[in-house]
Amino acid sequence: MEKLTKYFGGLAAVKDVSFEVREGQIFGFIGPNGAGKTTLFSIIAGATKPSSGTVRNRGRDITALKPFRLVRAGIARTHQIVRPFREMTVLENVKLASHFGRKKVANDAEAEAHAMDILTGFDLDNVAHKPASILSVGLQKKLEIARAMATSPDLLLCDEICGGLTHVETAAMLDLLRRIRDEGTTVMYVEHDVKAITAVCDRILVLNYGRKLSEGAPDHIQQDPAVIEAYLGHPPAKRKED
């Protein structure tokens, strides 16, 4: 049972947000723009320091760890705006992660084999030797996830990976997330699209103006009046009993 607890305070973007993530879940974060979702992720991923509060993973305090050490601790992240290594091939992008990830690889050939396996699992093996720059955005997002998974993480942070995708692509992406969870990786998922989040998450936390607004299972969130007000701006109209 993994406990991932975060208490923050004071950062203008995120205030006093605390929560716990259990292993094997897909834990979602939603909130209006500017609510602090990406900041939260940045803090967990080690890119930003919180003004106060701690991030704990399996009992260990990982707040101050630099990003590359977090990989060793089992945390990997994708970015909202994809950042593939454009001058490398798709395979090399993943091979890098295989080399520097948690799984020990003895040599280059082993890393390449590992990377190839991952790519096959993500249906990207047919473009393995093409430069990453030629992929479409949807495929680049998949590559981003594949790369992160190649570091053999326990926890994957997904930052708005469905941004700009079609309905079909989004559904495929959500299936991918479910598969990742079923294969043993916990997922923390930030998304703007409420439908996507409620469809795939086991548990959701709603942020508004940097504060925690609500937390719970998807149906609970959907019916929470505070959440509705935050999104729509007014209290939910009373249902007329017909």
């Binding site: 940045s42 991923a45 890119a47 930003t48 970015h79 909202q80 705006i81 950042r83």
Partner: protein, 297 residues
């Protein structure tokens, strides 16, 4: 140390700060608007100095007045170079290595042109005023330095006025803050960039001409001044005229009083050392930039 000596040093520092400031302003505006680190700045200062030399020797124009002529000439040259070379660089919110190397190449070219046209021996401009000294009580000031200081201050004030009260100045300030947003709002960033570059080069040349009346020079003389300019604009926060003034004073102060503690030969090392330390340790302008770079998308 007597009080008079300290005051003298302070005055020296102040005068030096003036010339340092006007020397750095050119680099600052170019960096602020275009995020280009102008390594060729040294070359243009050199050009300004030699132009002043020519004006002095052929037309007998006093170098400080020559600066007034040098400025528009260098402004035009700056715009020409922007049109020829600089506008092809990819634009960015962060300084790029491509721009760095391009300006470096340009600097090499300018240096060599300097050597070809004027040779590599030291030159200097000697006017009847060069050695004259003014005295106020116990304070001695070289009159040339005072005039140069006055010219420098006038330039800085003029620039500040332009930035704050003209349409062009507003465009510049907009682009400095956010180039993309400026474009959306309707700022013609290409034209503003071109004029800014011209201004930057113009000021470089002007500073060179003013420096020519104070020091001797050769085609490579820009380099120590270039490093000083870096120190200043980094100290001052990279994006404002007043910041430059502050940075200039700090450096001038450190250099002037540093003479007391460090043997003469190591003087330049002070500026270089300060540059490195400033780049690494300084909070404020510099640190916030590195913080921006570190933030993940």
């Amino acid at each position: 140390m007597t009080l008079i000596e300290i005051v003298n040093l302070l005055v020296s520092a102040l005068l030096l700060a003036g010339i340092y400031a006007v020397m750095s302003v050119g680099m600052t505006v170019i960096y602020g608007v275009m995020k280009i680190v102008n390594l060729a700045h040294a070359g243009f200062m050199m050009m300004g100095a030699y132009l002043a030399l020519e004006l002095f020797e052929r037309l007998h124009i006093d170098p400080i007045l020559a600066a007034l002529i040098v400025f528009p000439v260098m402004f035009a040259i700056g715009r020409a170079i922007h049109w020829l070379l600089v506008r092809w660089l990819p634009t960015s919110d962060q300084p790029t290595l491509a721009s760095l190397l391009l300006m470096f190449g340009l600097w090499l070219v300018l240096q060599n042109l300097g050597y070809l046209i004027w040779g590599n021996s030291d030159r200097s401009i000697f006017t009847p005023h060069t050695l004259s000294i003014l005295r106020f009580g116990g304070i001695t000031i070289s009159s040339v330095r005072l005039v140069v200081f006055g010219a420098a201050v006038a330039c800085m004030v003029a620039l500040q006025l332009i930035l704050n009260h003209t349409w062009f100045g507003r465009s510049v300030r907009a682009l400095i803050q956010n180039r993309y947003a400026g474009q959306i709002v309707g700022v013609d960033d290409k034209k503003t960039a071109s004029i800014t570059f011209g201004l930057g080069i113009g000021f470089a040349g002007l500073a060179g001409a003013l420096l020519a009346s104070l020091y001797s020079f050769n085609p490579d003389f820009g380099r120590p001044f270039l490093i000083r300019a870096f120190v200043i604009i980094v100290l001052g926060g990279l994006e404002s005229v007043s910041g430059v003034a502050i940075g200039a004073f700090v450096l001038a102060f450190v250099e002037t009083f540093g003479i007391l503690f460090v043997p003469a030969g190591y003087q330049l090392a002070i500026s270089y050392g300060l540059l490195v330390m400033v780049l690494i340790f300084l909070p404020g302008g510099m640190a916030s930039l590195t913080a921006k770079v570190r933030r993940l998308a």
